[in-house]
């Protein structure tokens, strides 16, 4: 990291050094301007607005913590918060288990077509969530959807209303979210598996350890950090879920799939009331949650892996 050099030598003064490095500042200016205007300032602005009765471009009167008291009292907020936690936890756990299991299988030495499997599993990761939403909305259509058609062939008729059954809808979205992200975590796990020294396995084989005990005694302990990293990555990614839900269910039925990001959007733009201040306060809650998990990620020394 760029540090300490400014205090190291008593030679040139700070000003002289800064003047000497003026080209470096020139090179830094574009990214700092860009990221400040379009990312850092907007969050400061959101924070500020959360204390005002703001509407779109009007600042409105200062209202102190009223917006925060209002979101705490709003049933819709509680529902969105609960749904977000279920969506995030459910997606993270299953994505983790499935991607790790598949990564271990793909990584077996005699398995052919490793690149093929990696590419196929990764296809959903590079597919727009809008397209993902359309594909699955179509496949989950209660009448014409291919899933229920197949279910009817094996005698399950009528099939479930995947997206309009209030008890099922959120889990249907979790399923689609898992499909979208398994490949991403699979690639990370495979890279970590390949970094494991093969001599561990050879030694264990000689000692007569079977595949399962090799997995639990060697692979899992050595992947511990990768697993922790993946859990945090998943959490941070899934907490902010927006497009998938917005496209597939719009938060329905009856708010049963409303998550934090869709709630924020709806309160600001979707109801016609344009409650920017209220919505900003809800944004800040989501931001604090993401920040907390990112801080944990950074404690494990991996700032760079928390996005896509």
């Amino acid at each position: 990291m760029a540090d300490s050099s400014s205090v190291r030598s008593p030679g040139p003064t700070l000003w002289a050094r800064m003047l000497q490095e003026r080209t470096a500042y020139l090179f830094l200016a574009p990214i700092l301007l860009l990221y400040t205007i379009f990312s850092l300032y907007p969050i400061i602005q959101t924070f500020e607005l959360s204390f005002f009765a703001a509407k779109i471009v009007e600042q409105g009167p200062f209202v102190g913590l009223k917006n925060y008291r209002d979101i705490l009292a709003a049933p819709g907020f509680h529902q969105a918060l609960g749904n977000t936690l279920v969506f995030t936890a459910g997606s993270t756990v299953v994505v983790l288990v499935v991607s790790l299991a598949l990564a271990v299988l793909v990584n077996i030495s005699w398995v052919r077509g490793k690149t093929f499997f990696k590419v196929v599993f990764f296809l959903p990761v590079v597919t727009s969530l809008v397209a993902v939403g359309y594909i699955w909305k179509w496949m989950m259509d209660p009448t014409y959807g291919v899933i229920n058609v197949v279910l009817s062939l094996v005698g399950i008729q009528p099939g479930p209303n995947w997206l309009s059954n209030p008890r099922l809808a959120l889990w249907s979205l979790v399923l689609v979210n898992i499909w979208k992200w398994v490949g991403y975590f699979l690639i990370i796990f495979i890279a970590n598996l390949q970094a494991i020294d093969q001599s561990y396995y050879e030694a264990a084989s000689i000692d007569g350890a079977g595949a399962w005990s090799q997995f639990t005694r060697i692979t899992l302990p050595l992947l511990r950090m990768a697993v922790i990293l993946t859990v945090i990555l998943g959490i941070v990614n899934f907490l902010k879920a927006f497009a998938l839900i917005f496209v597939m269910t719009q938060g329905g039925p009856a708010g049963r799939t409303e998550v934090m990001a869709t709630y924020v959007y709806r309160e600001a733009f979707g109801t016609g009331q344009l409650r920017f201040g209220f919505s900003a306060a809800a944004s800040m809650v989501l931001f604090v949650m993401i920040m907390a998990f990112t801080a944990v990620a950074n404690r494990f020394g991996k700032a760079g892996e928390v996005a896509l």
């Binding site: 760029a2 800064m18 830094l28 300032y41 299988l105 809008v130 594909i135 396995y201 990768a226 990001a261």
Partner: protein, 283 residues
């Protein structure tokens, strides 16, 4: 797990099970794409039937022709918008990242640590979290409903900065120091010496930037108002919500939206994978 000598029956069984699991998983991942495409090229009446027809009775590209000629739905314009926005965002993202990574890894100016953390801090502020602030900032800059109003927010992606920065840290500094001593200007060193050395990281960053900008829905959805400015992802939703597109029309738009990124990814998967796993290895 490795096989030496003649294959035994038990081993053969294990192999069959492993391939069956992997095959089933691959089918589960790929089938939705197949089903999407096949639903767009079969005759319309066949789309809405309660029967499992894995193959269309006949191929028909009528829906594509219909969509491309639909005056209410300028699909060609959506596509062009997507291209302009994602390429623009990619260029801005990668160039700013290379410049900053070079300045911070090679020059270490006073205050560099603060700047480093300012850049990294943006990773905690995904677009979904700052909808309101971003809306107001872009509005105040009079960039609402413009290309630059989407390109600039989409160009914020500190992961690519880190990718390039970490790659530069791993390279010896002697080369560019020697060039500096020989009197080369800073930008000459960057362009002629450093950039050629960091090509793999730049390729990866470029691809990741493009793939994520093309996919992004939230930012253009928030920052566009007229359908002439919609990228494909937003246009597809507009088609469904506003002009009541049929399922088949929606799926056709989804296909047009999906194919470019799938194609780019399949052709360049090596760089995409190395970009994602760079630094992700934790023993």
């Amino acid at each position: 797990m490795s096989s030496r000598g003649p294959i035994r029956w038990g081993q053969l069984g294990t192999r069959a099970i492993v391939y069956a699991i992997l095959g089933a998983a691959a089918l589960g991942m790929a089938f939705p794409f197949y089903w999407m495409v096949i639903s767009t090229i079969r005759p319309e009446n066949e789309v809405y039937t309660v029967a499992l027809n894995l193959l269309p009775s006949k191929m028909s590209f009528a829906m594509y022709q219909k969509l491309l000629g639909d005056p209410q739905l300028p699909v060609a314009r959506f596509f062009l918008n997507s291209v302009v926005i994602s390429i623009g965002a990619t260029i801005v993202n990668v160039i700013t990242a290379v410049l900053a990574a070079y300045a911070l890894s090679r020059h270490r100016p006073p205050g560099g640590t603060i700047f480093y953390y300012l850049i990294i801090a943006t990773m905690m502020v995904p677009g979904e979290v700052v909808l309101i602030g971003l809306f107001r900032v872009v509005n105040a800059l009079a960039m609402m409903d413009t290309y630059q109003g989407m390109i600039l927010p989409l160009a914020v992606n500190a992961v690519n900065f880190l990718l390039i920065y970490n790659y530069m840290l791993g390279l010896p500094r002697e080369l560019d120091e020697a060039a500096r001593v020989d009197g080369a200007k800073v930008w000459q060193v960057l362009w002629h010496i450093t950039v050629p050395l960091i090509k793999p990281a730049v390729y990866s960053a470029t691809l990741l930037a493009f793939l994520s900008a093309w996919q992004n829905f939230t930012i253009p959805y928030l920052l566009t108002q007229s359908n002439n400015m919609y990228p494909l992802a937003v246009g597809a939703l507009f088609a469904e919500n506003t002009i009541m597109a049929t399922k088949q029309e929606a799926l056709t738009l989804a296909t047009i939206l999906t194919i470019p990124t799938l194609l780019v990814f399949v052709l360049t998967q090596r760089f995409v994978f190395s970009g994602i796993t760079a630094g992700a290895i934790k023993g």
